[in-house]
Symmetry: C2
Subunit: 401 residues, 2 copies
């Protein structure tokens, strides 16, 4: 660790007190900002001391920061991100492992590890963060928080470090649904208009089969509660029914999104690393080796498949449709346990099978803290159609609150 003065437990890198710019719907709420999102006058590290040292401090806040400051919220800190936000586990070589408040011997999930810890440990009401492969949804699930990845490109990424342009989103983590809802509506520039109730609620069978049996069992209880709240019976659906052809859920990741993500990462962070040869943390170095060896030309067909999957999945989503599944297939791994290739694969592969569904389809997803397995949180996710972010928010309120 480069800076032994940092206590990573709450995820804080820099304590701040930036007053609201105007009054608004977020009056009285405190927020933190993930360290890949610009705060004027403070260097943005991207989770990498080498990046931080090589780049000047921005003079402007990211647009999303200005949006919530102008809606009444107060910024209380800059918080840890995994190195180059290229991780889902939350164990930073440089900035430590923020504390998972509800499962302290386990990882918080990443890459928005500090965002999750700052909210779960009571430092903030919500955190501005980013999600490409699951970086909001996974910490939401593992720390027992509410988290939303919006439809791709609904929220401006101006002032957010470029990561994977066709996959990256800006969203939020919060400790209460009301706070998530209010913050997301500001970020989404939502108009006030009545939304329909969900008429079709599906549970994705393929995702249940990927999940641990203990998680699967808890999903049943949660679905009973949802049916009780809405009066709508939850229907099982298979991925092949959604896309309209024989197809396994894992293709979203293995034959599509993963390659698009890797190619785009080569073009953003990859170009910089190759040119500048910065110091890299141990875990990131391992992952980056795969990026260096990646053959982007051979992968072009999988990138084209992403476009087809987007169209197929979106054709399934009527404006009244919601699909749910466990956000992650397991509870959080124990801290320090991801130290073999087998352990890493066992965490990442099934997790990304679930997170790639809304990723490849560019859909909004909300992870809700409705389940507990062995006293550890695990999220239940809800997905709606493209740009149906407001419908998803109102549906989740109706289904779960």
């Amino acid at each position: 660790m480069l800076n032994p003065a940092i206590d990573p437990s709450e995820g804080l890198i820099e304590q701040l007190d930036l007053a609201p710019l105007r009054k608004g719907p977020l009056d009285g709420l405190r927020f933190t900002v993930k360290d890949n999102i610009d705060l004027a006058g403070y260097k943005t590290s991207y989770g990498s001391p080498a990046w931080r040292d090589a780049h000047p401090a921005p003079v402007h806040n990211a647009l999303c920061v200005d949006q919530v400051l102008a809606a009444g919220a107060r910024c209380v800190g800059k918080v840890v991100a995994d190195e180059f936000t290229y991780s889902l586990d939350g164990e930073s070589f440089y900035f430590g492992t923020p504390r998972n408040a509800k499962a302290p011997d386990r990882v918080p999930g990443g890459s928005s590890s500090g965002s999750a810890a700052s909210v779960a440990n009571g430092l903030a009401d919500f955190s501005l963060c980013t999600d490409s492969g699951g970086s909001i949804r996974v910490p939401a699930s593992l720390c027992g928080l509410w988290g939303m990845r919006p439809s791709l490109h609904r929220i401006s990424e101006a002032g957010v470090l470029p990561f994977q342009p066709s996959v990256s989103t800006v969203g939020a983590l919060a400790d209460r649904f009301d706070v998530l809802d209010a913050a997301m509506r500001v970020l989404l520039n939502s108009s006030v208009s009545p939304m329909p109730s969900p008429k079709r609620i599906f549970v994705l069978q393929d995702a249940l089969e990927v999940a641990d049996s203990a998680v699967r069992d808890k999903v049943g209880d949660a679905l009973d509660r949802i049916a009780g709240n809405t009066g709508v019976a939850v229907e099982p659906v298979r991925f092949s029914e959604i896309v309209g052809e024989e197809c396994e859920l894992k293709v979203c990741n293995l034959n599509g999104l993963r390659d698009l993500q890797t190619a785009e990462f080569q073009s953003t962070v990859g170009n910089w690393i190759e040119a500048c040869k910065p110091e890299l943390g141990f875990t990131f170095s391992m992952a980056y080796g795969n990026v260096q060896r990646f053959d982007r030309i051979a992968a072009l067909d999988n990138m084209a498949r992403c476009e087809r999957l987007f169209r197929q999945i979106n054709a399934f989503f009527a404006p009244d449709t919601v699909v749910c599944f466990p956000t992650t297939p397991k509870i959080a791994p124990r801290k320090g346990s991801l130290n073999t290739l087998e352990a890493v694969m066992d965490f990442y592969d099934p997790t990304m099978t679930l997170t790639a569904f809304s990723g490849v389809a560019r859909l909004p997803e909300i992870s809700t803290p409705l389940m507990t397995v062995d006293d550890c949180p695990v999220g239940l996710s809800f997905v709606a159609g493209h740009y149906q972010d407001e419908f998803l928010l109102s549906s989740v309120r109706e289904m779960t609150c």
Copy 2:
């Protein structure tokens, strides 16, 4: 001009010969690449020598470059972009003014000036370029080329310098419709599937009123040809009918997109300029003064209006609907004539009133070289619904070829 050795007439900065990576639908076609799109091993200048000198050469091609190389095309050069691509006129302080082949005493339009010149002067069959406020469509119109700005974020921006994340697109300019169609389908990762014919073709009256009377007269002739080709009568429509409330077309630019563009530009290029204080060209310096004085907090309401306009305009577009209007309200200004504030405003304001329509609504737009006024080209644009890029391509073929 920093490099007097460059002859800017064809828009070329660097002559290249990058062989195709595979055979494909673009076999035998030559293309150029705008100088804000990465070519492995060559510095990307962004139209700014200061930027070029401050940044290392990329090791990867932009993904769009790899897509067309892998589809059989050959890269023949890197071509001029206006400084930071922040212009619509094509007169670069540093790289000169590429020749407008069909109106040599007039500007080619920008910021994809070199892309247009390289195609119009016969150096390439198509050019990869970018469009936010009109940087593909304006040169297409003023140089008499086919040009397409796709739906926002349909095409990967990996390896394209970050400009205005909520507005920027990757597209192409070509000298023939068939070439534009083939190149765009590769970039769009299009599946082959039959498309419906356009059933409703509208002409946007507000745009005609902004255009010069000589341009307006030519639109009538073009519409007769379209009606003859399709058997569909072209219907007039007002912007207020499209959005469903009393509203002028110019709000798309003046009360929406312009502020979003300026705020996002502050966060990308602006942050870099403020930190590094690079040498800036005269014309860009003038424009950048406005960026520095821009109050992004006061503009947040206009940014929220962009979201409302997107929803309103998109609600109008059924899957069989096309809207057309002149791409630019005038033919190209004479070279060197944009030297007073009045002349600049007279070019930019009405032009951006027209280009902001698809910009704010995130829609695909194709500019077609169907009109000539005083022996100078001026484009006729067609716009379709969000992500209806393939429908727009097949409709334009049916309407114009």
